[in-house]
């Protein structure tokens, strides 16, 4: 008996000893995440991190259906304008933005969302930028590409922010009004707002540096920034700053680089291909999201709101329409006249789809059950329009008309130049810009940069639905409120009026 007892004791003692833990017993790591130290360890890994930012342009944020990355931002920027019409209140997404309510509420998702996504892009870009010159230089071209793209992200993000949250850049002013914090470092400190002038200065500096770097880089796909896109961004920025001669110059560089790269304006068939397949069916996209079928975008997809055929209640109840006043300005021979149905009788996928006059046919989902689609952030048409507008506004009428005609005949084969003054031509170009880029997120910032009022009167905008029918140019309402969450956590931040 005693012996058994001793054996038992020996057994227990050894069990107790064996259970003493080794040094790394408590070293655990996630299996679906990687450490920052690994990411910042090589150029190749930084490139992978760069890809993540591109992908994050098309993902859902804030668990909100209307927050599907940059394509959703395009919708937000257009519902604030005059050209996108909600024919009913049968679905509430974007409705309070259409009414100019949400972007003025510091607690609304609408005010938080742009801040939230663009600064995430900035942080990710800064994390790359703070390491790209430290890692081993295994490939100079790759280094320049990664750095150039990251700079593009930083510039483009801040550019979007400053247009929404600050008073417009006034080409005639000193622009000391508050812009947004221009973040160049990856930290979590509070930061005060830079002036609008400073923001634009930094944006331009980043873009200039990016342009130099990207000259040495060939992007693998349209999903990346490349030299033509950097030129294009620079043109956008200069246009917003009212620096028309320079804007025209960079738009021209962008067009030339793009066309050398194989980009072409869409032809009449391609124009009707519905945009969800713009990468495969056309050569017009210069920078675009190429979402794969297994990268589901559910109901936060652009095409879940802006197509006419996807089976979502937002589309069945509120097929998006074009402002009738604008529509009626489109020439009858313009192919794009078919982008909308003025009669409200065109066929819909099922009887549950409501029909309204001027309803959209521009954007078509791949199928009623598939909202995944390409989305172009920049396409060649914009560059032509930018160049033409910039030339016109800077008084170079003939060149402006030539550029514009080159574009216009692809849309309206019977196009004949008719404008005789700078103002007429600029206005004509603007109408084409509104038509061409309808739904693509340019209208609100165009109105703001040109200091124009919002005027929805006399159109198919209904007072009961849109509530806001007009807003004078330059009022406080044109600025997004700074999100309350930012004010709460950043003592240096100040709110807009």
């Amino acid at each position: 008996m005693k012996k058994i007892k001793n054996i038992a004791i020996a057994f227990m003692a050894s069990a107790a000893l064996l259970s003493g833990c080794s040094e790394d017993y408590m070293e655990t790591s996630p299996t679906d995440q990687v450490s920052e130290t690994i990411v910042s360890g090589s150029l190749d890994n930084l490139y992978i991190a760069l890809n993540g930012i591109h992908r994050s342009l098309v993902r859902q944020y804030l668990s909100t259906q209307s927050c599907g990355g940059e394509p959703s931002m395009s919708i937000y920027r257009d519902v604030l304008g005059d050209d996108l019409v909600h024919p009913s209140t049968g679905n509430s997404w974007f409705l309070s933005d259409l009414r100019w309510v949400s972007h003025r509420n510091p607690n609304a998702t609408s005010t938080k969302y742009p801040f939230y996504i663009y600064y995430q892009f900035v942080l990710n870009a800064n994390l790359i930028l703070q390491n790209v010159d430290k890692v081993q230089l295994t490939d100079q071209k790759l280094h320049d590409g990664v750095k150039g793209e990251a700079l593009c992200f930083r510039a483009w993000s801040h550019f979007n922010l400053v247009q929404l949250y600050a008073k417009r850049y006034d080409p005639a002013g000193s622009n000391t009004q508050l812009g947004v914090p221009y973040r160049k470092e990856a930290n979590t400190d509070g930061m005060a707002r830079n002036t609008v002038e400073e923001c634009y200065q930094f944006i331009n500096e980043d873009l200039d540096e990016a342009i130099e770097l990207l000259k040495n880089y060939t992007a693998k796909a349209t999903t990346h920034f490349s030299l033509k896109v950097a030129y294009g961004l620079k043109a956008r920025v200069l246009l917003t700053m009212g620096n028309y001669p320079e804007a025209a110059k960079f738009a021209d560089l962008s067009i030339k680089t793009a066309e050398a790269d194989g980009n072409k304006l869409m032809n009449s068939t391609e124009l009707m291909s519905g945009f969800a397949t713009i990468l495969t069916d056309t050569d017009e996209a210069m920078w675009a999201a190429n979402t794969q079928d297994d990268q589901t975008v559910y109901f936060y997809s652009f095409y879940a709101y802006m197509s006419w055929n996807f089976n979502a209640s937002a589309i069945r109840a509120v097929p998006r329409c074009i402002n009738s006043v604008l529509y009626n300005k489109i020439s009858n021979t313009d192919i794009r006249k078919k982008w909308w149905d003025p009669t409200g009788t065109a066929a819909v996928p099922a009887t549950t789809y409501k029909k309204y006059k001027y309803q959209n046919r521009k954007f078509t989902a791949k199928a009623t059950s598939n909202s995944v689609g390409d989305y172009a952030y920049m396409r060649l048409a914009e560059m032509y329009l930018t160049k033409a507008e910039a030339l016109a506004r800077s008084g170079q009428l003939e060149e402006a008309q030539n550029t514009f005609t080159k574009f216009a005949i692809t849309r309206d084969p019977s196009y004949v130049a008719s404008s005789t003054t700078k103002e007429q031509l600029a206005e004509e170009i603007m109408i084409h810009r509104r038509v061409e880029l309808w739904g693509e997120g340019f209208r609100f910032t165009d109105l703001k940069r040109l200091n124009l009022p919002l005027d929805r009167t006399g159109s198919n905008h209904e007072a009961a639905i849109a509530i806001k029918l007009s807003e004078p140019a330059g009022s406080n309402e044109w600025q997004y409120m700074i999100p309350q969450d930012e004010l709460n956590a950043n003592p240096l931040m100040s709110q807009n009026e």
């Binding site: 049968g90 930061m191 100040s494």
Partner: protein
């Protein structure tokens, strides 16, 4: 059949001269019933037996000559009687408090010697209540325990807080320990009938041996084992039904609705579009139907529903679908609950066995919400020799549950409560002919859900909660295995070594199908399958030593523990359903998502405890534990936790013993430190990138979170002092003061959104939870037939932030602002100042504060500024001033319980209550909102401002003012005072005479109700929904009535 068990409990083998035998019966004085299991011992010897089920005993082989028998039973006074034939021994109950055994960390203790603070719920309290989840029994049961009631989803767990809120962002949930090992499984997987006791350890003295995990208190669950030397079988069956426990909010009905919506549109035209009153009225009459899209009135043209006078058309008196407007009616049913339990026990002097099997079916009152549980447990212990003991306690469960469509508190469209509550009162559930009102039937003649027509956007157009709930599937299956084994070796006199090993494993599969006709799955149909496997190993080695000499008793414990938790997750989703009715991946065309990951969490600890007792009067206890965790960086991983406790049993002192009116008196106090690392993710110190962000087909990763290498244990420093007393054989109670201070709070510190990240985990500041706990139990009546007692417990709690990190003045977190001197749940909200009687605009106090540089934060503008008296207000919510507007934490909360026993009847009831807190009611906020055409409205909207001079606090109805009138402010705070009857049960012990000679030992029938009523400030409000005070459209708890039958053989 008759069981007759007569076993020598003690001292087997004492053989003396054998001359006589004696038999008898032991009866309880209190109820005249036989006492089962009483010990009958021959005084001065070790010969003895226990009574059988009829209270009878037989002692053979008695030493000759007038032996004295000692008859004893727990809770009764021991009697000494002279042995004689056919004895009748009557035992009086012991009026002094029984010296209960309480389960404590790594062992048990006598309640009298226990220096810590614990509250206990026994099997008896649990047996009689039809609880699917045993944790619900804690509501109102003891002071210091706060409960956010479980939702109405069958099987749902309540959330429990012990002594306030020690943490802000890290977990505030107590540690669950089942049979000595940390339990990560679902409490709903434990059959409440298997539970012997639930003990809640509250102070550091009792919890600190669990060290790092114990900061939020510990809930010990001890399962049953065979107690009596006997073989017995117990069968219980309960049958019940359930319904919704809380009435719906009062809402505007179909006849009132249209004019109100009209008024909202008319005022909108005036405000936003500057229409004249007349034009606004005309346009509103013409257009209101266009916004609401449904006309429920027969024979009334769409543009004539509301006249330009704002009144409902007088011919609008016949409803087209008046019988089809109640969405709740289609969502709810009478729930059914059936439970069957069979257990058997067997105990010998070398082993004991407890086995139970049970089946539970609980169908909730919401369609597609149910819970089915098969549970089995075997607890076997053997002790063949004195120095060796081992055993296995193994439980297996299979749970299957449909969870309706809702996730709690979700604002998703698939939340039945949000949908049925929020949809305007004019929309029918089924499809109708809009002229005749007739149902439009399908080809089979069945009614069809109205999901295809377009409703107003705020009436959830394109969605249909009844159809979606019926056609979708949300079904999980969970298998739980919990096995504990141990080896107990008595090495030397008083020295015992123990090895405990526990394996706990939960396998979970959740399949979600969204139909292709309506809802999130439309139009393709989609299927999600989530599988998780969690495994916990706990392995500890303990060495304990007990020694008594003179009046001193010392016991000591040292040990080491390893703990490892692994969570494996995999998820797949496909869409594009091929065939109807098949819910497997192959029936869906496109892969949407396939992911998997494994999380690992490990801890290691060294522990020790020393207890000292002098003369059963003075007690002291010291414990220490050192813990490491994988959640922190290796340089800040280890933490030391310890406690000191002492108690003085004053009633053992001679000067108290003489006081007849004092039955019990004890003073105790403790101090200690415990830790917390839960609820912060598994790798908060690491800066991480997430995988799976591929750019088209190129590999991509994305920044996820900043880590913090300096992160360390959150530590709770607790003081506790108490007096326990029993007086006049009537009143017992405890008065207890506690102060729990959490330092190095784990806080997810919000960062500027402009930094690109929302928050970082940091150790910040200090929070204290100070309080007073009172427990009183008074026996109102006690005699042969009656026993009537009433108990009250109350916890007065003050939560206060004591310190924030240097340089940090405040942290604003949603509706709360954390600042020194305020609680963690103090509301920080815009100050609502009522309504301007001139135009009905909502007024807020104007924010006139200035920035550091002296410039005003807000510019005063006469367009939105109003000066009333000499105070400044604004109609623009963006310019409103924030202020502290009260706390979500009640000043006092607790329970009231009552027990009445009359002969064979027993009645018991439990109430819980809270006073002095506030709720931010976002459901009410939605119902009172303007601007949401088609949404339902609260009846309080009738108090709105309508014409100049109206004095009210409800602004005018104006669709253009949604931002200003609906804004988050203290307008939506409502008192959270409540009293709720949690349970009422009545049991009747069927007299033995009825089932004599059937072999039945006991039979009892009972009826029991749960959640019987609630009194609070606003009908519809589920006051106990959350601790932070924000409540919304969660699954309302169930009220149930259950009938039970319990028979033992």
């Amino acid at each position: 059949m008759m069981f007759f068990v007569s076993l020598f409990v003690l001292g087997i083998g004492v053989i003396t001269s054998q001359t006589s035998s004696v038999s008898g019966v032991v009866i309880s004085e209190e109820d005249g019933m036989p006492v089962l299991g009483a010990t009958v011992l021959v005084k001065g010897t070790t010969i003895g037996t226990v009574t059988d089920t009829d209270g009878k005993f037989l002692l053979r082989n008695l030493p000759s000559g007038g032996a004295v028998l000692q008859v004893s039973y727990v809770g009764m006074l021991t009697q000494e009687v002279i042995a004689k034939p056919n004895m009748r021994v009557i035992l009086k109950s012991d009026t002094k408090v029984v010296d209960e055994i309480v389960v404590v960390a790594y062992g048990t203790a006598k309640k009298s010697s226990f220096t810590g603070s614990a509250a206990s719920i026994g099997a008896k309290d649990l047996e009689i209540r039809p609880l699917t989840n045993a944790a619900s029994a804690l509501d109102g049961a003891a002071p210091g325990i706060q409960v956010a009631a479980a939702s109405g989803q069958p099987g749902a767990s309540p959330s429990i807080r012990i002594r306030g809120f020690g943490s802000v962002n890290a977990s505030n949930s107590p540690l669950y320990v089942v049979d000595g090992s940390i339990y990560n499984g679902e409490i709903g997987d434990i059959n409440p009938n298997d539970i012997e006791a639930i003990t809640v350890l509250k102070d550091a003295a009792s919890t600190s041996l669990y060290g790092s995990s114990a900061g939020n208190g510990v809930i010990l669950i001890t399962t049953k084992k065979a107690k009596e030397e006997n073989t017995a079988v117990n069968l219980s069956i309960t049958q019940g039904f359930s319904q919704r426990a809380i009435k719906e909010y009062n809402r505007i009905n179909v006849m009132e609705y249209y004019p109100l919506q009209w008024e909202q549109l008319k005022n909108q035209y005036i405000t936003a579009n500057s229409y004249t009153d007349e034009k606004a009225a005309q346009t509103a009459s013409a257009n209101i139907f266009g916004l609401l899209m449904y006309n429920p009135f027969k024979g009334v043209a769409n543009n004539e529903i509301v006249g330009t006078d704002g009144k409902l058309n007088s011919s609008a008196n016949t409803l087209l679908w008046g019988d089809d407007l109640d969405w709740y009616d289609e969502m709810e049913r009478t729930g059914y609950r059936g439970e069957y339990n069979l257990s058997y026990t067997n105990k010998t002097n070398k082993s004991d066995t407890y086995v139970s099997v049970s089946y539970l079916e609980d169908n909730g009152y919401v369609i597609k919400s149910d819970f089915e549980r098969f549970a089995g447990r075997a607890n076997v212990n053997v002790y063949p020799v004195k120095w060796f003991k081992t055993g296995l306690n193994i439980a297996g469960t299979r749970t299957t549950s449909n969870t309706a469509n809702a996730t709690d508190n979700s604002s998703g469209y698939a939340n039945p409560f949000m949908f049925a509550r929020g949809i305007g009162p004019i929309y029918p559930v089924y499809l109708h002919d809009t002229t005749t009102g007739e149902y439009i039937l399908d080809e089979t003649g069945a009614k069809q859900y109205d999901y295809s027509s377009v409703r107003a956007g705020s009436a959830y157009s394109g969605r249909h909660i009844v159809a979606e709930t019926n056609w979708n599937q949300r079904k999980y299956t969970r298998d739980g295995l919990n096995a504990r084994t141990y080896l107990d070796l008595n090495l030397y006199d008083g020295l015992t070594a123990t090895i405990n090993a526990t394996l706990e494993s939960t396998n979970y599969r959740n399949a979600g199908y969204d139909n292709k006709l309506v809802g999130d799955g439309a139009p393709a149909g989609r299927l999600r399958i989530e599988s998780t496997r969690s495994t916990t190993y706990t392995f500890n080695q303990l060495l304990s030593y007990t020694k008594s000499f003179d009046k001193h008793t010392v016991d000591a414990l040292i040990g080491h523990e390893n703990y490892s938790y692994e969570y494996q997750y995999s998820y797949a989703m496909r869409q594009g359903q091929i065939l109807d009715g098949l819910y497997e991946m192959d029936n869906f065309v496109t892969i949407n998502e396939v992911t998997s990951y494994t999380d690992t969490y490990k801890k290691e600890g060294y522990l020790g405890r020393l207890n000292y007792n002098y003369d059963d009067k003075y007690y002291a206890s010291f414990s220490f534990r050192r813990d490491g965790t994988s959640r922190f960086h290796k340089d800040s991983r280890w933490g030391n936790f310890w406690s000191l406790g002492a108690s003085w049993r004053m009633d053992q002192e001679s000067f108290i013993k003489d006081l007849k009116w004092v039955d019990q008196l004890k003073l105790r106090a403790s101090y200690g430190e415990t830790g917390n690392d839960a609820g912060i993710g598994y790798y908060p110190y690491q800066t991480l990138y997430g995988m799976g962000y591929n750019n088209a087909t190129e590999a991509g990763i994305l920044f996820d979170s900043f880590g913090n290498n300096n992160l360390k244990w959150e530590t709770q420093v607790s003081y506790d002092a108490a007096i326990e007393f029993g007086l006049f054989e009537k009143l017992t109670g405890t008065l207890e003061f506690f102060n729990k201070e959490s330092k190095d709070l784990l806080f997810e510190v919000p960062k500027p959104i402009s930094s690109g990240t929302e928050s970082i985990w940091e150790n910040i500041g200090k929070v204290s939870n100070k309080g007073l706990e009172v427990t009183l139990d008074y026996v109102l009546l006690k005699n042969k037939d009656w026993r009537w007692n009433i108990g009250l417990n109350a916890t007065f709690l003050k939560n206060e932030v004591k310190k924030l990190p240097d340089g940090q003045k405040e942290i604003i977190d949603g509706t709360k602002k954390i600042m020194v001197g305020h609680s963690v749940y103090d509301y920080w909200l815009k100050e609502y100042a009522g309504v301007d009687p001139n135009d009905g605009a909502a007024l807020y106090r104007f924010d006139d504060s200035v920035k550091e540089d002296g410039t005003p934060v807000q510019t005063w503008s006469d367009t939105d500024g109003r000066i009333i008296g000499d105070e400044k207000f604004t109609t623009s919510q963006a310019k409103a001033k924030y202020h502290y507007a009260g706390s979500a934490i009640p000043d006092v909360y607790g329970g009231i319980n009552m027990g009445v026993k009359y002969k064979a009847f027993e009645l018991s009831t439990v109430f819980s209550y809270a006073l002095g807190g506030k709720i931010y009611n976002s459901s009410y906020q939605s119902l009172m909102s303007v601007g949401a055409y088609g949404a339902s409205m609260h009846s309080d909207i009738k108090n709105r401002w309508q014409k100049a001079g109206d004095v009210t606090s409800t602004p005018r109805l104006d669709g253009s003012k949604s931002s200003d009138f609906n804004a988050q402010s203290d307008r939506w705070l409502i008192s959270s005072d409540f009293i709720s009857m949690k349970s009422l049960s009545l049991a009747y012990n069927i007299p033995k005479s009825i089932y004599n000679n059937t072999g039945i030992r006991n039979a009892r029938v009972s009826i029991s109700g749960e959640n019987l009523f609630l009194i609070n400030a606003l009908q519809g409000m589920d006051t106990q929904q959350s601790y932070n005070g924000i409540i919304n459209n969660a699954h309302i708890p169930a009220r149930s009535w259950t009938f039970g039958l319990n028979v033992s053989f």
